[in-house]
Symmetry: C2
Subunit: 333 residues, 2 copies
Amino acid sequence: MDIKEVARLSGTSVATVSRVINNSGTVSPERRARVQKVIEQTGYHPNHVGRNLRTQCSQKLLVMMPTISNPFYSDIIVSCEEHARANDYGVLLAVTNRNPQIERQYFDMLYTKQVDGVLSFLPTISPQEINRITAEYPFVACCWRGDERINASYVCIDNERAAYDMVAYLVSLGHRRIAALNGSYPGRTYEIEREAGYRKGLAHAGIPYREEYYLKCDYSHTEAYQAADRLMHLPEPPTAIFAMSDDRAAGVIKYLWEHGYKPGVDVDVAGFDNVTVSEITTPSITTIAQPCAQLGKEAILLLIARIKDPSMSNKGIILAHSLIARGSTRTIS
Amino acid sequence: MDIKEVARLSGTSVATVSRVINNSGTVSPERRARVQKVIEQTGYHPNHVGRNLRTQCSQKLLVMMPTISNPFYSDIIVSCEEHARANDYGVLLAVTNRNPQIERQYFDMLYTKQVDGVLSFLPTISPQEINRITAEYPFVACCWRGDERINASYVCIDNERAAYDMVAYLVSLGHRRIAALNGSYPGRTYEIEREAGYRKGLAHAGIPYREEYYLKCDYSHTEAYQAADRLMHLPEPPTAIFAMSDDRAAGVIKYLWEHGYKPGVDVDVAGFDNVTVSEITTPSITTIAQPCAQLGKEAILLLIARIKDPSMSNKGIILAHSLIARGSTRTIS
DNA sequence: TTGTAAGCGTTATCAA
DNA sequence: TTGATAACGCTTACAA
């Protein structure tokens, strides 16, 4: 069942059928009705592959993420879909598991014309490769921006400022012994930014940085659990732990409960990202909320703008975060 | 940069270039080398749209899920990707937010030849629509099977048996007052199956079913929190709560802590699915583990088999679940 | 208002 | 072993 068959059945030409399908050109009402009836009766669906080949665009966007198991992406992606749809684009998701090989396979969809643009959370391919892609194809970085080696459009929050704000908040609660749990993934620039924010926050409060309070710890409640064990066994344990992700914070809280500390009373805990788990733990987690809906929206709009105007130069958008105080930190007294 | 240009630059025909690309037919070593060199130098990538139009297949599979925020899908999807890739298929993900309109748009990718097959977690379109799709296109249901109205291939666990097993386990711990939290989403047949398993488990232990112990509650820790409140205010509160999902169980545990009950001691709690949160809570959650990797693998293989053999009839595969006992239920004494 | 036909980039048939 | 060419299904000048 193709357009030719529809044309035959409705006694007209493929051109007219195409006009009816796309609401383009001029078609007499009678013919239009006849064609529409045939389409309805036969259940004909235009072949997008033929159409894409002809029009040289797919009206599809690819959203690449390192993992599907981080709920942080959820709201962003919902927003992406919504705004893509509003602009007649479909969204396809790809999970890369931080495998550069797999990332390249998905980026191939750009070269091979299967998608018109890519929106990517932090990838693992090299800055050179990213620059090569952004130079030629529509690309937007979402929730990250590279260092000076990267030249690409991006939409994200000011991670340094966010970490600074959280430290300032903990200081305002009276804390002086503030530990931090942060990753050290090469290329994960927002971790570097958050570390800088943490250090500046301490410095601004006149608190010296203590090496034993800054622990490397990947995104995982189990690693955070172990890190909490290290921290609480220090000669001078911290009074607050800024875990820099909600799942790490959840791991810390679990440790505290299981070792006789009351989180939010004996030791304060803060997270980052405001994902579901931050409300599930007891107590709930004080955290930094990223403006997910807006992140998704701005990123998609930027991507579509670049698709429509290939000469557009790269652009960075920084959105505002917010600090959500919950029970894992003491109330100001 | 197209195949014609590559042919020109390497002084041969498009046919030969195509043979080189696809390792088909016969090409002399010298020519092959010449063509490959040009491809390398120019960075040529074959246009998949042209190829798909010609070959009438895309080598792409669509995996449709209701939401990305349920981490339960994560491991299944990783497995899907792995086995699809091993069979030269790419996997595209689509999130539908349980919106039948959006589901239809993605199913359109089948009609419009953008993907060769669809693997779907529980959708919201009608059984009739699903039957229409499965009759004509490769389709596999993953983690669900419809009722008698649905005729489609599926891969899932025996949900009734799983619920039965959990009730039997709770009974073996000495419980007689066992409540259950379950959804009541129309068409979510596995919820019906789990209810049946719950009832049979009680019956087998000679425990009468009590209406006030069976609460409808959607997938959400907040609703479960409220449900726990209702249960614990009954004249005769349950001694065990089978929450039928880990996030519900987490909500129950949160309620118990906040109201002076010790979960796993005063009241036992059980979940379902064995997602990350089941290890984050204090105590960890006793739950049913679905064989995620195997579910993804079998579903993908079934889908690919159906693509390769359109005359294949529908097939149902049931995989074994397992019960994981953790701290949210008392140890056998 | 309608139809003819070229062309999008590829693969595969067939002849050389 | 190679190359010319038709075909895949569609959109869109252009001509009628």
